[in-house]
């Protein structure tokens, strides 16, 4: 039995459709009800929906054998898991953004507002830049507008929100897309199952191109 942690939301639904196409569908998964776990004994697969940022935890702790997780989450939490496949979906990028016309004053500590403290820390320490992190849980764009921070370190998808708030991308830290991750022990015992699933998903991705 292979258990899959899917991230709630549009991305998770899109990925599930791929699973279904690959022959790993499970009745009821897409129904809008309060059921939590969906199992197809015959195909040997079970799905459950979790908060996107929790997928890595479910997989690392072995509650799920595999899961679908954004690269942003993987880089932030650095879970001890295998990252087996880039699904090329949910593409966006982790960026540094600031008010239009902003210029970095190397003289003083840079104040960075972000939801991704660990990623920001790693990015700037590689640059050798001294920073102060303000950890926020949402509406990151407000921080530079209110002069609480110099820049924000956040996910940019289309850039519309930035534009509407008179902000612009200063630099890109890393590209993001959905990845298929696997628990290391689970993979050791279910190598063939996981690999054959990945093969099928790769084929479908090829067709979709």
């Amino acid at each position: 039995m292979l258990s899959v942690a899917l991230p709630k939301g549009r991305l998770g639904e899109k990925v599930y459709m791929m699973f279904e196409k690959a022959g790993f569908g499970c009745p009821g998964v897409m129904d809008n009800n309060r059921k939590l776990i969906f199992t197809d004994e015959e195909k040997g697969i079970s799905f459950f929906w979790v908060k996107p940022s929790d997928v890595a935890i479910y997989v690392e702790r072995g509650a799920a054998d595999i899961g679908i997780c954004g690269k942003d989450i993987i880089n932030e939490y650095e879970p001890d898991v295998y990252e087996l496949l880039d699904l090329n979906m949910g593409k966006c990028r982790m960026c540094v953004a600031a008010k239009k016309g902003y210029r970095d004053d190397q003289d003083r500590t840079l104040i960075v507002a972000t939801k991704f403290s660990n990623c920001a820390q790693k990015y700037y320490s590689a640059l050798g830049r001294d920073i102060d992190i303000i950890h926020l849980n949402g509406s990151i764009e407000l921080a530079p507008i209110l002069n609480m921070s110099d820049v924000i370190f956040d996910i940019v998808e289309t850039g519309t929100t930035l534009k509407e708030n008179n902000l612009e991308v200063v630099s890109t830290a890393f590209p993001i897309s959905a990845r298929l991750i696997a628990n290391k022990a689970g993979y050791a015992f279910k190598t063939d199952e996981v690999n054959s699933l990945i093969e099928k998903l790769t084929d479908i991705m090829g067709e979709q191109k």
Binding site: E60, L84, D86, A182, N183, K184, A185, F189
Partner: protein
């Protein structure tokens, strides 16, 4: 009915079973003190699983630590001039943080070390002991074996920055092949060298198949020959299944070299065994000999225990002030093989099979 197994926690049970396995192979128990000077850990921080160490000054003002690790102490006390191979095992409490949490935990760690002029036979024996340990824990187990020198050798041929090598190693360790090919294609190197790295990263599974397919791909070398001989030894020791070669097993290359391995058992989400050759640690501590060892994380096994008993106690023996011979009556029930909780009131938080009033228990006269 009570037996030893029902009294022992799974951790204690495994600890006893594994110790008897090690003892059978002539390994001696190494007992260490609870405290060590902090210095030894500060110098080898990267070797520790978690950098956090509980420290305190002793009566002479020296900075001491509650031991977070045992291997460092064993290596320090190892006499480099002896020609004998030291075979030691330990069963100790260590103190460190786990799972990114900030809180310290007391962890029972069991492990063994083989230090001296070790050869392929001693390496094979350690791997066999790792397999036997896994076998004691569960019927379903897998030992992933790798030799980090194989990938290190390829990396040392590359003329790229250290950071890039780290990225490559990380991708290999994560089985992250899409990022591995991205890193490889972005750097300047012979296509053949890039191909070799990709082949090593992607080849895993049954040891014999892995070794022959690596050779077919033109990856040869003394490391692979040694690995092959070790696998043969393991097979002849009776382990026909549960062994895989997987180059995603990586350990810190500044301490480890050569054969490294991780063991998993079905039902436990993390690795339960982790080990490898650590000649480089000895070198760092000024010793010339070689070493291999592994640790078993018994704390990971807590959740593996057999089903919980239905009851905390068989019989609750209720008594009041007027009862006589209460202890004797309890003993009578215990002699019949029951566990007995003496109580004046019906316990609320204990699960019991039955309640017996002391006055109802008849003693033979």
């Amino acid at each position: 009915m009570l037996n030893e197994k029902s009294v022992m926690r799974s951790e204690e049970l495994f600890s006893i079973r594994l110790r008897s396995v090690f003892q059978k192979f002539g390994y001696q128990r190494y007992k260490m003190s609870r405290f060590e000077e902090y210095d030894i850990y500060a110098k080898n921080k990267d070797f520790l699983i978690s950098e956090n160490v509980i420290t305190f000054p002793d009566s002479k003002g020296r900075l001491m630590a509650l031991k977070p690790d045992v291997t460092l102490s064993i290596v320090r006390s190892f006499n480099d001039r002896t020609s004998e191979v030291q075979k030691l095992y330990y069963d100790e409490k260590v103190y460190r943080t786990v799972h990114n949490s900030a809180d310290f935990k007391e962890i029972t760690q069991l492990g063994l070390e083989c230090i001296g002029d070790i050869d392929e036979i001693s390496i094979s024996e350690v791997l066999v002991l790792a397999l036997k340990s896994l076998q004691e824990i569960s019927d379903e187990y897998i030992l992933n074996i790798s030799d980090i020198d194989i990938i290190s050798k390829e990396l040392s041929r590359l003329d790229v920055p250290e950071d890039t090598k780290k990225e490559i190693l990380k991708a290999v360790g994560d089985k992250n092949f899409h990022e591995l090919s991205m890193v490889l294609s972005s750097m300047e190197a012979e296509p053949e060298q890039k191909r070799r790295i990709e082949v090593i990263a992607k080849t895993s599974g049954e040891p014999e198949a892995v070794i022959s397919s690596l050779r077919n791909e033109g990856i040869t070398g003394v490391e692979l020959d040694i690995l092959e001989r070790i696998i043969k030894e393991i097979r002849s020791a009776g382990f026909s299944k549960g062994v895989k070669i997987d180059f995603s097993v990586l350990s810190n290359t500044s301490y480890y070299n050569g054969v490294v391995f991780n063991g998993y058992v079905s039902g436990v989400s993390g690795k339960v065994i982790s080990g490898g050759r650590y000649d480089k640690l000895l070198q760092k501590m000024g010793k010339k000999k070689k070493a291999i060892g592994f640790a078993i994380y018994l704390d990971e096994l807590e959740r593996l225990s057999d089903e919980k008993p239905m009851y905390d106690v068989d019989t609750v023996l209720l008594y009041n002030e007027n009862d006589t011979d209460v202890t004797l009556k309890a003993k009578k029930l215990m002699d019949e093989g029951q566990s007995v909780l003496l109580s004046r009131t019906v316990p609320e938080n204990r699960r019991y099979r039955k309640i017996v009033k002391a006055e109802d228990v008849l003693l033979e006269v």
